[in-house]
Symmetry: C2
Subunit: 470 residues, 2 copies
Amino acid sequence: MPSDGARGRRVPSRATLLLAGLIALFSGQPSQAQNHSESHWLEPYREPAARLIGAALADRFAWRRLAELTDSIGHRLSGSPQLERAIAWAVAEMTRDGLENVHTEKVMVPKWVRGRERASMIEPGPHAIAMLGLGDSVGTPPGGIRAEALVVRSFGELADKAPLAKGRIVVLNIPFSTYEDSIGIRLHAASRAARHGALATLVRSIGPPGQRLPHTGMLQYSADAPKIPAAAIASEDADRFQRMADRGTRVVVHLEMEARLEGEVESANVVGEIRGSERPEEVVVVGGHLDSWDVGSGASDNGGGCVVTWEALRLMKKLGLRPRRTVRVVLWTNEENGGRGAIAYRDTHRTELAKHVAMLESDVGVFTPTGFGFSGNDRARRQVRAIVSLLTGIGADRVGSVGGGADIAPSVEAARIPALSLEVNGPYFEIHHTEADTVDKIDPNEMAKCAAAVAVLTYVLADMPHRLGE
Amino acid sequence: MPSDGARGRRVPSRATLLLAGLIALFSGQPSQAQNHSESHWLEPYREPAARLIGAALADRFAWRRLAELTDSIGHRLSGSPQLERAIAWAVAEMTRDGLENVHTEKVMVPKWVRGRERASMIEPGPHAIAMLGLGDSVGTPPGGIRAEALVVRSFGELADKAPLAKGRIVVLNIPFSTYEDSIGIRLHAASRAARHGALATLVRSIGPPGQRLPHTGMLQYSADAPKIPAAAIASEDADRFQRMADRGTRVVVHLEMEARLEGEVESANVVGEIRGSERPEEVVVVGGHLDSWDVGSGASDNGGGCVVTWEALRLMKKLGLRPRRTVRVVLWTNEENGGRGAIAYRDTHRTELAKHVAMLESDVGVFTPTGFGFSGNDRARRQVRAIVSLLTGIGADRVGSVGGGADIAPSVEAARIPALSLEVNGPYFEIHHTEADTVDKIDPNEMAKCAAAVAVLTYVLADMPHRLGE
């Protein structure tokens, strides 16, 4: 039952706010007065916040939408027909939700194709290796590469054993710690091994030990090294290589990968809006990336992030909440292997970035929400803290020290836009970039809380009397 | 530093035991007296038990042996060259341990070959399905089977929808409860679907939800139904089928399997002994099956069970403990897909089964030991309870209500032999019959405790003055 008319009752007039400020100013207790002043503008949002939370938690709409996307379309690598189907689906669904100005914005993206791939120990063996080629990797020659393994536990050990690397397949068995600390291993392994003459590299997956589950992801070739094929292997296989190396066993590996880049193809960011009632030129952007790796079904990375941010607009529309400012959901393309969607958004919207009040990204899963990471000025941080106090009832009231995300980063950096990111507790990195990234890992109720948290924060950011940080 | 001569100091003479019995008899407290009497014979075993536990826990020998087997040889399906290599390896290693009468006993086993296999949803799709053909399954025709899926949650629903099954691929999505309760699903799915004209069946894996991890295992074709191909699918894929069916989505599946039986080939049980010093004709048998499925490396199922039971003999030999009766370790062949090793043992040893004091199998993993399942008479149960009281220090002192195992069952049933099974707490069914059954899942210290528990129980059973149960 949407009803825009109901909105007026819940938003304070400027006179009310001015009065509240004056009362606070003369109350004789400056610090409490400031808190009072800062929180007073928030009071009228308690009721719409409660409605948004209630509407989000009343059913499993968000989870069902994600299940539909991931079941019927599945994973969505840049350049794949699945991604283009997902883009068309999102446009149709946003339109059905009643969002405004629904459209796509063209983005050229690289088309990397995995092709067939396999690896095995052939001496001693044969023993199949659980592997996934890394994004952007080149393939092997037809028939594959057959070479002795050189197993190292660190880049330091690789440097120490550099003379042994020539003509070998380097196995980098560096234990996973955190994603931030470990991602460099995957990015740089190939070129660091190639500089010493290695023919290929197998990298222990960037994720905790699992159930024979390799994790793919991008690599970065350096200009000063030959491009050699690179694949992630499951923790179990990395451990096995290590034990065999420690025993002094000579291990010969066969690696065959058809991986290749097939130029660039057209893709798109998907955009939908609720236009602001008073200051439509000021924009709060929320969103996630719609593309995924070509394994699993891209549920946690990042169909879920798309859906819960999009839910902010759907829920406002459903409840007849039209904020003063425009709320825009963006489903970026090509986050995983290029970041072209993020750059295209910045470039397409460059002239209006100064009017971007805030940008919010969800890209670490839609498990139990704990709050939001935030990057911005102190005044804005206090305001965000005040807003998320509305989320105490669903446990999502923490404000972390850093907000952001790969898709909003180019815009945020270009125009110093306050940046937010949904933070959650859940097994994101256990299944990230794997065949196990499927919707069953996500609890519908926790996902609904994520949607509620994003909706409340987004609505208040878009409607608050003063612009965030001012 | 083995020393058989040291043994005499730790074993009570018959006179001592008689005296203890008389003291107990005249103590005036019959029930305590009985306890006292029953436990008195145990006292001399505290010291060798402590030595066995200490020797087992002093290093990671058992885990290293298992790692060597599973790393270098890997999985060991009946009829595979790997199993025959493992048999030769075990004979060589037992000989190196100084075991006696080390030999193999010929067993003819079926040779089932998985071949290449794959399944995918092709409408809507394509979406790859994580699958593993079931043991004994027939293959599909070349090029595979392409048919609409019929998804059911129970055998009852299959019966209700029987008219819809003809020409379909039946997806049996029955949730896993316990292995005992769920195994019938895997065994009977193919024939129950085939009776209604199904072309093939995909069965939700018999195991808890995991990380896109299908669990293989045997099926049993009924004589009254056509043999149709059958495969296990990961829980995620079963859930996806169910959601799509619940939405009314028509799903078409392509299934291609090269699975086939290639007749029978020669294999063997491996046997090693420590001959008894006083009653060598009386035998305590311990062991596990050396064969495995053709996925993972057969570490928990059941390389670990082989090694920890074999450890009982190695540790006795190392410590110079030669019990009165013979201790025999048997590594059975073909438990997974035929049970031929178990039957061959019974038949080969039929004339001496009456002299089998007890048989102990380890086949549920070598995680944290909790004690032993036991099947036998009440007096024997009390004696086993007394013996495992020596294992309180390692937490393995529980006696479960039922003991046994597939490899000892034919012999146990033929001659009413007391049956024991090592019981543990650990993630056995999470990785059972999967690619994730690898040695890294096993904690070396917990495995050492398993070896210690088996060693102490076995030694006392083989050395106790009275035969178990008498």
